[in-house]
Structure formats: structure tokens, C-alpha cells
Assembly symmetry: C2
Homo-oligomer: 511 residues x 2
């Protein structure tokens, strides 16, 4: 009991809970947290890029076994009929007589990695426990010495530690917490773990369609993304859509010496910087024709919720180390409720010690377009393509042949990646009100209610295919470096997440 | 004799020579060319980046032994007094009573490599013989089957195959050709092989100063660079200067999710493309203030020589696959007689399959500034720095600290690399006239006489330290991919180079 009490103190956000079940759950978490962390770290050792079929299957296999061990029923892979390479993992726990069903979603695939960019003592798929932030020189904690009471600021560093294997494992541990403490849920619980979210969920729609009846529910709880930057928990009722595209422009057919041909032969790096620079104005707004045209304005309730969200701009600018945002006239909360264009990456030749005095043959950039309700992803990509055409580029979908090279002064190869639209759930419907009430009461705190998150998940699919209501309940710390080098999860957030998710699984629909 | 005759036909540019010694030399080359190619390929197997001290020493050691074996005298390393890491290799062959001395220069270090960019069947330090251009699907020739009569279009692919280990080995083989055929030069011959040319020759000046008396001469024959694009041989009387700089601009302190922060947090890629795009106008001219101010105009003789150079613009545009040069109003010959600014490389995040939806922490570009007579390299770098400052950037030479981050909206770290100025030798002085006469007579062809080459070598040092007259005599094919992936030397050019250089070593000063 003392241990449980101490954990309650250490995990600042694990407040004294009002339900009897909560103390049982927290005691269970306190007693078993070392095992939970070991399991998570074992899971993080498996490389998990969606396109890496062999490794993805190893991850799925691990989940199948783990879920069965925990007593989850009807554990199975859900394949898309058209292909079998990146399955979702499903399981359920049905309560006799229950009329309410929640599906809990997380994804087990991760973003690509650039290992050379990680801190010298880290490797993406060799998870380590660090007593704080690695950038501040915090030291490694040996796994056998880990104890949340001794190391309350501990973080696990690895690809997918926050995005989103901690989501997967928090859900499974929450379920185990109920089972092992003898608590009986009043609802049906279903688990759905996707395996290609970071690849843009190319088969999610197919999988949901093929398994429509199995996946019926009152709501989907999406466990992904970060909590609010103030450290407050949040529920998110919408997400931006997302569509990427890659642009490649061309110089000479073969690489040229920059002395013998420099400033005569066209440098593709120069063509690319001129093109990219033409896409934004000095206020940070996108200059592409029609880019903001179809944006559906926020309604009054959303504006009200938005107004209640604590402004974090100054705090975040200090934390992130810059004094001027790209959008100088729009705050962060509003900025993520607009469509955006981000230059994910630019490559032309080499910078740094590998740079050579050369005119490269081509230069590439990857753009990430985020979309809000009202804006169609295909139309938005087409607007960017038209802008590139308007800058004098001949557009092609393959490397230019001889004839194209000699008849067009500027050539751009464009690869349009599959994307998806934004999604929003009405926060006023009964199941959402019940959820908001339950978690605010259980945690004793007011949650941030976000009309829309800046990030993206293919949640439109749940509406479209299943008529379902998705809502996002993130557990990861906001400074988790997701999608980048040195990704990490704050251990206390992971453990708090288990507690919160167990509370949601104990939702009393008629209360 | 038949073999020698056939070789003469196959090597189109090896004309019927008017000197008796020439047929002896060509016979020797014909008989021994397989051995010469094996030796070159052995040499090419040694990685040779100037900063890679261990490998550079292996290269130098190879040259010391090889030169001694060939009967070259006083073979030794010439170190800079300040450091011993990248020595030049020296040797000489003194002719009793000779009053004329030529120093033959080449360099044995190479550009950095990006092996992933090379053709899938090639590795930079595993030289292979290919029966033509690799891009056209030409096949590998087994070393033991190589014969120039059977494979007249053969190329050797490897880093430094053209730039400049073929220069080094052509000089040594030319010397052996004289020795082994019993020909006696009328001049003193000196060899000077530099080991850090591609690193900008940071210690050449020191080495020349320290060994001034050893290196006295009437002229330096610089064996480096490509022949003219028309396939004609050329002598080059000047080179552009060169100075590089690296620019790094900054975004958030840690990488951010492009959904949660995109278009609010400053993207360093966007800052960089705006900055780089501001450096040129739509005509391809540099917009940086003062960039062309100090250019010394060409004199009448240089203009005359320039007018005689066959225009290769249309041919080169077809060969290189583009229909519009960056400088639309200036031809190639004139473009390389102006200062230039080339974007060698740009890196911000990742493009291609490793691209992630992220706002990177920084973005970098490497610029290559080429300089003509009159323009000082330090002043030119400072003009670029001032331009960056004029675009609102705070300039620093290190990663910005907290205070700088929070007080400057735009921050650029600039690393100025050591550079050097342009050089020109007067083509009317007697030793140059003798050289022009000798090689035109020996080859039976009119050579291209270039006032200035687009490329750079630190030839100003020879003037400045030794009062010497350098002139460049290239042997490599112009489509050799020097400085880039798939670097190669056309075998027949290498063999022709040996013949030409042997002729130069047989220069008769009083004839």
C-alpha cells in the first residue's frame, strides 16, 4: 500500500481517484511496472517500418501471442482482401449483456529512421532507459535497476517508443490491470492495432470494409499522438488530413564539375530552391492558388473550446529555441486548424564533409500537405502541381527521356502519394459527453478538449466505412521527438496512460 | 611492328608522328599497355581522400616505391614544415648539361565519395574495365582479356581514375617509355605529386616555400583536368580560383512533427531555399552586391584565342540533356571566364524513401565560388556573407546558444573554407611557344589554346612562391564524371596521354 501511495505522489498527474477500482488499478500498475517496461522494451527491439514486410510480421506475431496470453478473445490478423502484407491485429473481450462497445485503436508500425542523426549513444531499435532527456547529458539506467519511484523522470528512447508502441502496450496493460485485479467491465472491449499507419494507412479502408460487422461499436478510442504542451491531458475530436508528394527537378544528364560547367549548366538545386521559395510569402502563408479556398470555418462550439485551450506559444517558442514563428500573425492553435505545406526534406548533392564541387543531376524535395475539414487531398495535391506548372515546369511522372529533356527548359517529376481527408467528431453526442465526464472525474482534472489536432490519422475512414465516432486520447509526452531522431516516451506518462485507459474500459454506460 | 601500326589506327588521336622517337615510344606503349592498366587499377584500389591520413600514406608509399623502381632519382616525401599528414611525393631525373627544367605535376588524392550514388555494379575503390559507358549497358571486360585493339572504347571506372591518378601514372609511364626505349632527354625532369589538391591544397604554399631551390624550373606542366569537349587536345594557360563555404540555418531546437507544428514553427528548409533563391536572378547572374566588380577583363590576345575555340554549347547541351543553360545570354567559353556561384549540395531532413513528416532542426548548403583574375577569394566570400546578413540573418561561426536563438529571428552559421585566387600564364613567353610548337608538330594537330579553364587548381602558388610558369596539359576525356559518381577514364586517352607526355619530356630547348 505504501508503494502504491508513493507512486500516486510521484506520478503527479495520477491524482487521488474517486472510484474504488482506480486504487486497485494503480496498485497493480505500481507492483507490475517493471515487467510492463521490460515488455515494452522487448517490443521496441523489433524494427517496424510498414514497408518492411518480414519485420512487420514479426511485430504482428508478437502481438498475437501477447494478446492471447492476457486472455483477450478471438485474437486474429485482419487482412485486406487485396493483399496480406501489413495486417491489422484484432482481439476482443465481450461482456454478456453489454450494449455499449468501444474499439481501442493504436498502431504498431513506425516512421523510417536515419540512425546517423540519433544521439551517438542511441540506436533506433535498441531501446534504453535514460534518467531524463538525453540532450541534457542524463545517464542510462540499467533495466534491472529501473523503478519509477527512484527515477520519476525516466524516458525510454527508441523508434516508436511514443508513436505508437507505447499506445499499443498501454492498452494491453490496461486490460490486464482489469483482469488481474478482478474488475469486470460493463462494456464490450475491442482492440484494433494497425500496421501501416505511418505509411499513410493505404489499406485501412479495405480492412474496415472487409470486417465491418466485427468492428461495429459506439466509439473508437484512438490512442496516438501527444498530450497537450502544458502537460494537461486532452481529448481530440478531429485530425487533419494528410497527403505527401515528392518533386524531382533535373540538371545535366550526368554530374558535372562545378568549375568547368558551373553557372552555365543548369543546377537542379537552384531550380528547386527557386520553386520551393515561390510557394510561401513573407507572412508564412502558402501562395499556391486556391490553397485555402475550401476550408470549412470552425463553428461556435469549436471556437469556444479553442478559446479555452491555454496559449502555449511563448512557452513553446522558448522551449523550442526560436523567437519568430513562420506564421507571424497566427497562433499555434489556429495554425493547426488551417491547411499547411511543410518541406519535409530537400536533397541535392551533399552538404557537410561529403560535399563535392559538382553540379548534381537532380534535386528532390518531399512536401507534406496537411488538410482541414472541407479540403480534399487530391484537389490540394493538384493545386500544388498546377503551381509548379505555372512556374514553367513540364510535369512528368517518370525520369525524363531524351526528347523531353531537349524540348522543355524545366522538368519536374512528381510522385503523388496516397493521402486522406480530415475528420471531426461532434463533441456533443452522448457517448462523447459520457467519456469526457468519466475521465475528468477519474483524474480530478479539467482536460483540454481540442476540436482538431495538427497531426493526422486516417480517421475519416471510420466515419465513412463504419459510421463510427472516433476520438483521440493521447498518452505520450509532447516532447517525444516522434517521427524524428531520439524519439522517446516519458515512463510516467506511459504508466499514467495505462491507468487512464483502464478507467475508460470501466466506463459505466448507464451511470 | 604490326601491333604498333594497329594501335596507331585505333587510337584515333595518336597520329603518325614526325619524330623518330615517337614511333619507338608508341611501340613501347602498345607492347606494355596491359601492364600499365594493371598498375593504374592497382593504384586506384587505394582510397585517397586527402583527410584520410592512413590511406593517403599508403598511396604515397606506393608512389615512392614505384618511382624508385622506374629509375627516378632522389625520390622523397616533401612535407610542409607545419605538419606531416599529407605529403607531396617528389622525384627527379637530371640530364648532365641541361639548362632547361620542367616540373611535371599531378595529384594522387581524390574527391569524397557517395558510394550509394554510383551505378549498382560499381564501387568507387574497386576499379573495373567496361567496354564503353556504363550508363549504356556496356559490359565488364575481364582484366586478363583487356587489349586496346580489341576494346578501343574501354573505360576504367573508379574514383580518381581520371582526376588525377591517370595523370600521375601517365607521367610515370611516359618516363619509363623514354628509359626503356633508350631515349635521352635534353632537359631536367622533375615530378611533383600533391596529396591534398581536392581538399583545396591547404599546405601547397608551405611545401613549395620549404623546398624552393629543389623545385626551380622553367615551367610546370600540370597534368590534370579534361581535354576539350570536341575531343581536341588543349593547353590551358590559366585557371579559376576557388573558395567554398557552408551555410547552416536553424529551425526548432528539436525535430518536430510536421502535423502538430507545421507552418507555425520555422522550417529551416524554407529559410534556406528563400536565402539561396535570393542569390541569382532569372538570367542566371549572381545578384550579390559587388560579385563581378573586380573582374579583370580579357586582353586582346586572350580574346583572339577564345574566338578560335570551337563553340561546343549546342553539342554539349545535347550530350548533357538540357535545352536551356542557367546563363541564357552567355556561352560556355565566356561563362567560365566569369566568377561563379554553384550550389554544391543542399541537405534538409531527408527526401526519398527516408523522408519523414518532420520539421528538421537545421538545413545546410555548401556553395562553391569560382574566381577569375582580379577577384580576391576572401573578399568574394565576405560579399556572400554580407548578402546573407542583408537578408536578415544573424551571422555566427558556431551553433547558436540559447541567448542567440531567442534574440534573432534568423540565424546562419557560416564556415568559410580556405580558398585561393585565379592564375594566368602569358602564352607568348618562349618556353610556352616552344611547348606549343613541339606538341602540335608531334601530334600533327592544332591544339585548343585556352586563356582560362573553368576548373581550379592552386596555380597562383607557383607564381607567387616560385616565380614559375604553370601550364595545364590535360589528358582525361571530358565526359569523365570527375568529382562525382561513376568517375572514369577512357583507356585510349590514358595511353595517348603517355605518348604526349613522353614527347614533352623529349623537348629540345635549342631546336
Amino acid at each position: 500500500m505504501k508503494k502504491s501511495f508513493l507512486l500516486g505522489c510521484m506520478l503527479l498527474t495520477l491524482q487521488i481517484l474517486v472510484y474504488a477500482q482506480s486504487s486497485k488499478i494503480d496498485h497493480y500498475i505500481s507492483t507490475n511496472h517493471k515487467t510492463m517496461l521490460r515488455e515494452l522494451m522487448h517490443f521496441l527491439r523489433m524494427p517496424n517500418q510498414a514497408k518492411d514486410s518480414a519485420n512487420i510480421h514479426q511485430n504482428a506475431e508478437f502481438l498475437l501471442n501477447d494478446m492471447r496470453k492476457r486472455g483477450i478473445q478471438h485474437v486474429q490478423l485482419l487482412n485486406a482482401p487485396s493483399q496480406k502484407r501489413t495486417p491489422a491485429v484484432y482481439g476482443e473481450y465481450l461482456t454478456p449483456g453489454a450494449t455499449t462497445t468501444l474499439v481501442f485503436y493504436a498502431h504498431y508500425d513506425g516512421q523510417p529512421v536515419s540512425p546517423e542523426k540519433w544521439h551517438t549513444s542511441l540506436k533506433p531499435f535498441e531501446p534504453v532507459l535514460i534518467n531524463g532527456k538525453i540532450e541534457t547529458g542524463a545517464k542510462t539506467i540499467a533495466a534491472e535497476e529501473m523503478d519509477i519511484m527512484r527515477y520519476p523522470d525516466a524516458r525510454i528512447y527508441a523508434r516508436s517508443s511514443s508513436d505508437d508502441k507505447s499506445g499499443v502496450m498501454a492498452l494491453l496493460n490496461a486490460f490486464s490491470a482489469l483482469r488481474e485485479t478482478g474488475l469486470s467491465p460493463a462494456i464490450n472491449i475491442k482492440f484494433f492495432f494497425e500496421g501501416e499507419e505511418e505509411a499513410g494507412s493505404p489499406h485501412l479502408e479495405e480492412i474496415l470494409s472487409a470486417h465491418r460487422s466485427l468492428l461495429q461499436s459506439d466509439a473508437w478510442i484512438i490512442c496516438d499522438g501527444p498530450i497537450h504542451q502544458t502537460g494537461r491531458n486532452q481529448l481530440v475530436f478531429g485530425v487533419r488530413g494528410d497527403a505527401n508528394m515528392e518533386i524531382t527537378v533535373y540538371g545535366p544528364r550526368r554530374p558535372l564539375h562545378s568549375g568547368h560547367y558551373g553557372n552555365w549548366a543548369p543546377n537542379p538545386g537552384l531550380l528547386l530552391v527557386e520553386l520551393l521559395a515561390s510557394m510561401k510569402n513573407e507572412k508564412g502563408f502558402v501562395t499556391i492558388k486556391g490553397f485555402y479556398d475550401d476550408v470549412l470555418a470552425l463553428n461556435d462550439k469549436e471556437k469556444e473550446a479553442l478559446a479555452k485551450i491555454p496559449a502555449v506559444d511563448s512557452m513553446m517558442m522558448r522551449e523550442l529555441g526560436f523567437m519568430q514563428p513562420e506564421m507571424q500573425d497566427v497562433g499555434l492553435s489556429m495554425a493547426v486548424n488551417l491547411p499547411s505545406l511543410n518541406i519535409n526534406g530537400i536533397e541535392s548533392g551533399k552538404a557537410g564533409s561529403a560535399a563535392a564541387n559538382v553540379i548534381p543531376v537532380s534535386a528532390s524535395a518531399v512536401l507534406d500537405l496537411r488538410l482541414v475539414k472541407g479540403v480534399d487531398w487530391k484537389k490540394q495535391q493538384e493545386r500544388v502541381v498546377q503551381h509548379i506548372r505555372d512556374q514553367g515546369f513540364f510535369i512528368t511522372d517518370r525520369d525524363p527521356d531524351e526528347q523531353i529533356r531537349l524540348t522543355h527548359p524545366r522538368i519536374a517529376k512528381i510522385r503523388l502519394e496516397k493521402g486522406y481527408n480530415a475528420q471531426k467528431t461532434d463533441m456533443q453526442i452522448p457517448i462523447m459527453q459520457k467519456l469526457i465526464h468519466t475521465i475528468q472525474k477519474a483524474t480530478g482534472k479539467e482536460w483540454v478538449l481540442q476540436p482538431g489536432l495538427g497531426g493526422s490519422l486516417p480517421l475519416y475512414v471510420f466515419e465513412q466505412v463504419l459510421n463510427a465516432y472516433p476520438v483521440t486520447l493521447p498518452i505520450a509526452n509532447h516532447d517525444n521527438n516522434q517521427h524524428a531522431e531520439n524519439e522517446n516516451i516519458l515512463v510516467k506518462r506511459f504508466l499514467e496512460g495505462i491507468s487512464i485507459l483502464a478507467t475508460v474500459m470501466m466506463l459505466q454506460p448507464n451511470q
